[in-house]
């Protein structure tokens, strides 16, 4: 039974681009035996998705196999034609995708989509297509299998009526429709909320056991890999740098990159060093001085149905000078809305905001513009926070041009100085954002935010769009800058490990309300709410996987 199902042998793939061919996969060697679960870890751009798609025969259209071959169940599928694929794709090899919303056709009902897959399989198998009713019952069976309630009703529903977690279950049901020999899961949990992630992972795990599936799962999340996969491979720049038993790889990483990767995962369990250092000086610090204060902030949106929905519901908080103030919550908890309201980027429905004791919630026009010099925002997604048509120099110099009367030459000098501060070469002034990596862009964003010497920075998930290794760099850098420029941070994140590392005080948000607040350490050590506990627990999975060797 322990025969080899999939064998990738010295496989190299190139993609033709305008700048010449790029080698996206280099000399890949992977063997998967029946019943095995293989996890592939890698950051974005490492080539892991291209690899598994090649196994499915749905790789990039302009790619060329340069060397090696892929053998599935003894059959070479490297250069198979469409006819051959029709018997394999979706039937013997099947796939679960990253973002369940975009991978389901919005115009067809769930039942229709799954039973179409069943019909396709029956056609490929040459048995003739079973009746509609039979396919319906089989569909419902599948839906039940993936733990979806009331499959009969679900059959006639459309993707938009389902939550993200449910959609991912539907996709899994679809993938299982053909009783595949090999199941490929491409970042199956990345687009989901933390608490849902755990459930989906559990489902996959149980299905593997129940159906004796062979699985290849790719993820950037070491925790997810550790939960599901018995074996594990680490990919870096198109190469497999390390593979073996998951536990072995994680506890005893051989390759430098693996080690870096593991080290970069923030540790949720450790009491941050800063706290220890701080305790020593704390006595010296006088009573904290309030920099930013919000009282009974509310933001109400009208829903399409005509009802009202409070994105932020009666939140009060105060941020002290010099501290890092954390805001934690899942997507949709209202933390981004709150952050934007603090800066008056969104008008609050009610409530007041004070900055250095001044009520800024009623400011308009010029005074508001003036006050914005002192409080700046760093956005979640550095890729879209920079205007693609401006050079980096323009982007950094923009606040200076708007808020000051500095001459062009002075602005240029200052821009270069700022680039220096964020540790980027001066020549970047002439670059365009699309030429920069994510981490570099986020540094530019920070440079832009500190150009006017603000007192307060609001950081809205500044690292969540970045790879883990970059995330660690940016976090370190942020703390450095704060020290140098004497800044106060409001730091928003869904990642509790990060929060614990850097935040002094934290609030936990759920559905627009604060469910818990206080000293960060206090919250972590003694979470009062079930919700907080769930959040911490899900963070722990990844953290633990990364600390296996410790």
């Amino acid at each position: 039974m322990n025969s080899t199902l999939l064998d990738i042998n010295a496989y190299s793939l190139g993609i033709g681009t305008f700048d010449g061919p790029i080698h996206v996969l280099k000399d890949i060697n992977i063997t998967v035996k029946r019943g095995e679960t293989l996890g592939i870890v890698g950051e974005s751009g490492s080539g892991k998705t291209v690899l598994v798609r090649s196994v499915m025969g749905i790789g990039p259209s302009n790619s060329r196999v340069q060397a090696g071959h892929i053998t599935f169940d003894g059959q070479d599928i490297t250069r198979m034609n469409d006819k051959g694929w029709a018997k394999i794709r979706g039937i013997r090899i099947s796939m679960i995708f990253q973002d369940p919303m975009t991978y389901l056709n919005p115009l067809f009902s769930i039942g229709r989509q799954i039973s179409d897959v069943i019909a396709a399989h029956e056609r490929a198998a040459g048995q003739g297509i079973s009746s509609k009713a039979m396919r319906r019952s089989r569909t419902q069976e599948l839906l039940e299998q993936v733990g979806l309630p009331a499959p009969a009703q679900l059959f006639d529903q459309y993707p938009h009526q389902l939550s993200g977690g449910m959609r991912q279950r539907v996709l899994i049901a679809m993938a299982l429709a053909g009783k595949p020999d090999l199941l490929i899961a491409d970042e199956p949990t990345t687009a989901l909320d933390v608490t849902v992630q755990a459930q989906v992972l559990d489902l996959i795990k149980s299905l593997v056991k129940k159906l004796n599936l062979t699985v290849i799962m790719i993820s950037h999340d070491i925790g997810a890999i550790a939960t599901v996969a018995s074996k594990c491979a680490v990919m870096y720049k198109g190469e497999i740098v390390e593979q073996g038993d998951t536990a072995a790889v994680l506890s005893n990483p051989q390759h430098d990159y693996t080690r870096q990767l593991l080290a970069a995962v923030p540790d949720i369990e450790v009491t941050p060093a800063r706290l220890l250092a701080k305790q020593a000086v704390q006595d010296v610090i006088p009573a904290p001085q309030k920099l930013l204060e919000a009282v009974n902030l509310r933001k109400v949106y009208k829903t399409q149905a005509g009802g009202e929905f409070a994105a932020v519901d009666n939140i009060s908080l105060s941020v002290n000078v010099g501290e890092i103030f954390g805001v934690v919550g899942e997507s949709g908890s209202g933390k981004s809305t709150l952050a934007r309201m603090l800066l008056r980027l969104i008008e609050p429905t009610s409530g007041d905001i004070f900055f250095e004791g001044q009520d800024i919630s009623r400011l308009r026009g010029e005074p508001l513009r003036q006050i914005r010099q002192h409080m700046q925002f760093v956005f979640q997604n550095p890729h879209s926070a920079l205007n693609g048509r401006h050079t980096i120099g323009d982007a950094i110099g923009e606040p200076l041009r708007i808020q000051t009367t500095m001459s062009r030459r002075d602005i240029d000098v200052r821009t270069e100085a700022l680039l220096d501060i964020v540790q980027l070469p001066k020549s970047f002034r002439y670059r365009y954002p699309h030429e920069l990596s994510g981490g570099q862009k986020q540094r530019v964003c920070i440079a832009r935010a500190i150009a006017l010497n603000p007192r307060l920075l609001i950081l809205d998930e500044p690292t969540s769009a970045l790879d883990i290794s970059v995330q660690a760099q940016v976090l370190n850098f942020l703390q450095q800058v704060r020290k140098e420029l004497n800044l106060t941070y409001v730091f928003i994140s869904h990642d509790l490990a990060v929060i614990r590392q850097i935040c002094d005080r934290t609030i936990v948000m759920k559905r627009g309300k604060i469910v818990e607040q206080g000293d960060t350490e206090q919250i972590f050590l003694h979470p009062a709410e079930e919700y907080t506990r769930a959040l911490i627990e899900s963070g722990r999975v990844t953290s633990r996987a990364a600390r296996l060797r410790a």
Binding site: M56, I58, A86, Y103, L104, P106, L107, D116, M174
Partner: protein, 335 residues
């Protein structure tokens, strides 16, 4: 639902009123004198005045505007000075011919544009793609009036296949009026011969009218198909083993059809406007021809009437498109 319908109706009424104001103002910018035209070349000043008084043209512009608006609200579109008949009667007389022409042209455009667009998208950047694209853009670039005359001369004069102009042969009695569309009425009357001749008359104008529409439908359908074919859910469908033909014909088409539908709605209005040219060339007795002849005579009540009617038809067509949208796209159904 009721309030939704009511709101929609109010919007339509508002738009119609807006169009009326707009066209009234525009058509009264310059001092054309239709009274003098209809009075005849030798008429004396007092004879012209007789007509001016009869049609209220002697009153100040503001007052004329007020009267027109008041009448309009009661459903009176005024009276054409040239034909001395109520504009509404004439609109009702000419509209069916135009609608028939536009609908047939639209059917042609969709029936050819959608498959060609699909073909073009599936074989993107191949020779088929280039040929269909250039052909389709040619359709937009062809001056309709010029093309119409070319077609007439070739198919009617040189080959003698199709009639030059008109809706029916002169001696053929039109079938009993039920819908106003000769094709439908002939079918209702069970008169296949009349149906055949009516069809032979409508082909040339419909083809000429449909060309640009075909082109834009093709273009939209092509680009949407290309986008849909690259989308994640099509990748997923492929990964789940659904055959290429089925993916294109069922899955992608339905998704690509949505923007195509919107384009059809837009093009409908455009086509109604183009009838101004095509109807002139083919002597198609519709509202386009009516608008041209009225405009050339500075007889503006019919022009306003036609504009209102076209605007109304356009809104109706787009409401239908909205409904079709909701029917196809489950995400919109709850409204």
């Amino acid at each position: 639902m009721l309030s939704f319908t009511l709101r929609k109706l109010l919007t339509v009424a508002g738009t119609m009123l807006g169009i009326a104001v707009l066209t009234f103002v525009i058509t009264n910018i310059a001092p054309g004198d239709p009274a003098r035209l209809v009075a005849g070349p030798n008429a004396t000043e007092d004879m012209v005045d007789t007509i001016r008084v009869e049609y209220g043209l002697d009153r100040p512009m503001i007052e004329q505007f007020g009267i027109y608006m008041k009448d309009l609200i009661t459903g009176d579109f005024g009276t054409s000075i040239v034909t001395t008949r109520p504009v509404l009667d004439e609109l009702l007389r000419y509209a069916p011919a135009t609608i028939e022409l536009v609908v047939v042209a639209m059917i042609l455009g969709v029936a050819l544009g959608v498959p060609l667009g699909m073909l073009s998208a599936v074989y993107k950047d191949g020779p088929i793609d280039h040929v269909t694209r250039i052909l389709s853009i040619s359709g937009v670039a062809l001056p309709a009036f010029w093309f119409g005359i070319l077609m007439q001369l070739y198919f009617s004069v040189d080959l003698g296949w199709l009639p030059v102009s008109g809706r029916l042969p002169l001696v053929t009695r039109p079938p009993d009026m039920v819908t106003g569309s000769l094709l439908l009425d002939a079918l209702i009357a069970g008169n296949l011969e009349t149906f055949r001749t009516a069809l032979s008359h409508i082909i040339l104008p419909a083809v000429v009218l449909s060309f640009p529409c075909l082109a834009s439908i093709l273009r939209v359908n092509r680009s949407e198909m290309i986008e849909v074919l690259q989308s994640d859910y099509i990748t997923a469908a492929r990964a789940h083993g659904i055959s290429a033909g089925r993916i294109i014909a069922v899955y992608s088409l339905k998704n690509a059809l949505l923007p195509t539908l919107a384009m059809i709605g837009l093009r409908f209005g455009w086509m109604l406007g183009s009838t101004v040219l095509v109807e002139t060339v083919f002597d198609w007795p519709g509202i386009g021809l009516y608008a041209v002849s009225s405009a050339l005579a500075s007889d503006f009540k019919p022009v306003i009437g036609v504009t209102l009617l076209i605007g109304f038809l356009f809104i109706i067509a787009n409401t239908l498109v909205d409904l079709a949208y909701a029917w196809i796209d489950p995400r919109l159904r709850r409204a």
